[in-house]
Symmetry: C2
Subunit: 407 residues, 2 copies
């Protein structure tokens, strides 16, 4: 008998038939004696429809109200699954974020979970209920509805698993697990059986959409075993766990490609102390995360400043940049949303192997792909390139690091 938290993504609950399939799985776990907490996303496409509705209402929708609107998506699926389970004779009960005790900070649109009061869910489980939790949402200390950002249901699930000390947090999705790279781009991509939190974190940060970044951080911090697997078959997927000796010992574990960044360039910024702070403070205050920054000093005491933000933040970042750009005396603000991609190689082995960067740059150069920006971490190297080379770069790197070969 185990306590399992199962999270099902948007494609797994896309319609009533699929929600019935989810109910089959939940039922099976329950029938074999497990306690089950189910965390659901909105039906696939619903969150996007709601965002587009909001954009019809307002060009830059108020973030507090957007959260109130978006939260309806998960509320819908949670209620539907609970209904189905009850109509099959099971004890089941839906929990909205605030009812599940998920307390967050006040950052609308990408709130962070501060605390989970798992009491209500625990009591329900003890009474034999299946707890069906609306993912992606919580409430701040004032009781205002908040949402956790794209993929936030993963974080809801891992956080609940951690608070309940669950035996496993199963993330059911529309892929079989975590792959060495995106199989839609590279047909030689292989499923990874076990991956460390650290590698998974880098892969999530870099655009492997299978898990939300914060969910991996949470899992790492509280040591929650996460099982990423398909909701459409019974195969084992990928276990995301602590680094261990028996882990696949590749130097590079995976290649990622992130098309979700947009670039902003401020031209001819006066090259004075404090200018960067003047530019980046307002972005930080607006809670816009800046990823890569590059600065090229020009002649004549001027500098060009380029940085990247996620496309979600692009509109607001642009507005702020134009304002502060004018204030600091930049002559021109160039923005380009669509034309860049970030390809990255990730692997724990990098810590002990040198030459990974050289291999990467060499592989890209062999295809005449120009590198615009580079950033690195202990277990990752990322390059910004033109978007049109993205797929070619991924396939080239996948093969250059020997990931194509079956082990």
């Amino acid at each position: 008998m185990a306590l399992r938290v199962q999270k099902y993504g948007g494609t797994s609950v896309a319609n009533i038939e699929r929600i019935n399939n989810v109910a089959d799985r939940v039922q099976k776990a329950y029938d074999q004696g497990d306690k089950v907490v189910v965390v659901l996303s909105a039906m696939s496409g619903v969150t996007d429809s709601l965002i587009s509705l909001a954009k019809q209402a307002s060009k830059t929708p108020d973030k507090r109200e957007l959260d109130v609107l978006l939260a309806t998506g998960e509320q819908t699926t949670a209620a539907l699954l609970a209904m189905i389970l009850k109509s099959r004779g099971y004890k089941a009960k839906s929990f909205l974020g605030f009812q599940a005790g998920i307390q967050t900070d006040k950052t609308s649109g990408k709130a962070r979970i501060q605390e989970i009061d798992g009491k209500s869910i625990r009591q329900s489980l003890e009474k034999g209920y299946i707890a069906v939790v609306a993912g992606f949402q919580g409430a701040d200390e004032n009781g205002d509805i908040t949402t956790l950002g794209r993929g936030g249901s993963d974080t809801s699930a891992v956080a609940i698993a951690s608070s309940l000390k669950a035996d496993v947090c199963e993330i059911f999705t529309d892929v079989d697990g975590v792959y060495t790279t995106d199989p839609r781009i590279c047909s030689n991509a292989r499923k990874i059986n076990r991956i460390s939190y650290e590698e998974m974190l880098e892969m999530a940060i870099l655009g492997a959409k299978v898990l939300q970044i914060r969910s991996v951080e949470f899992a790492k911090k509280y040591n929650v075993p996460v099982h990423v697997r398909s909701s459409f078959n019974e195969e084992e997927g990928t276990m995301v766990v602590n680094e261990s000796a028996d882990m696949e010992s590749a130097v590079v574990s995976g290649i990622t490609c992130d098309m979700n960044e947009a670039r902003i360039t401020l031209r001819k910024v006066p090259d004075q102390p404090g200018v960067s702070a003047k530019i980046f403070m307002p972005l930080a205050e607006a809670e816009i995360g800046v990823d890569m920054i590059i600065q090229n000093t020009r002649s004549g005491g001027e500098t060009d400043l380029t940085f990247t933000v996620t496309k979600d933040d692009f509109e607001r970042a642009k507005e702020i940049s134009q304002k502060v750009g004018k204030e600091v005396g930049a002559t021109e603000i160039l923005t380009a949303e669509e034309d860049i991609a970030k390809v990255s190689v990730i692997g724990l082995g990098m810590k002990s192997h040198s030459g990974v960067a050289a291999t990467m740059f060499q592989a890209l150069a062999s295809e005449n792909i120009n590198i615009r920006l580079i950033s690195t971490s202990e277990i990752r190297i990322s390059c910004i390139i033109l978007a049109k080379y993205a797929e070619l770069a991924v396939r080239t790197l996948h093969s250059a690091f020997g990931l194509d070969q079956k082990k």
Copy 2:
């Protein structure tokens, strides 16, 4: 400077363009110095779509979960209006039922408001906010989401108006006000300028869909002046107020027609003491309201029992009736959902005028319309007839009581 509660129905918020029109009206009231609380329904059609989704999930959807699902409709419109008002530079904030302090009992699907803690809304108004409240919903003492039944947003609005001691509760709808009868059935129907709570209550109970019954009960109990008016023009509508000397002194104020009842007949029920209780107690326990009851004693110690329920409750009432019918030994249960209509005449003047019933029966007889069941109150007479005669009956009665004539 007044405190106004404005409620907008489903057709008034049917799409973003119309919600923008609502914002225009709200803005106008706010700009002239009034404090405004807006209560919204779901977009027209949305509640029905959600119910049909629920019925795909389960033939008889669990009521607690149905409430969780339905509540998303008003959550959506409240968030959208608040967004629009904010994007126009106004201070605005959405409130879900529980955030607005609307505490109800636990009767899922048709919960009753027990208490309103208006503190949050009042504080927001004092800070210059426009409060946008999701109608139709509340929460019980456990924090479970509840809904107030069809048209429940009217009740939300009146209840909030009463708790805030608002100067007026304006119900904006797709008609110009309360009519002597349904203008779609009878082209001679006239708008009523002022009507008493009592008459309005009877008309609402009897199917005049312009106001939810409980909202009128609430308005009557707490003496809330209600102004029913069109959201598509600036005309004065109908004031619903305390009975007063200057009220239009017609014997009959209006004719209603309710097609929303279904009939259940239990044949050959043993004619023994306690049998009726055995039949109606389980219905009461299931919170199914029974409207009219008729009992015909047959020979041989048996009796036929006919009663009506709303079509919403029909499926459940049928199940229960079949079960208890078998238990008490009824030989046959006949049910008919579609074929009946209840036509009623309403008027405060009936208290002091005799002959209204006779005129009504005479008028129906003149068109050869057979009366199946009759029920009366101090200010109302209702007859159940075959549905196919409904429109004819309404027109005949409207003319027989002189409502056609302009005053």
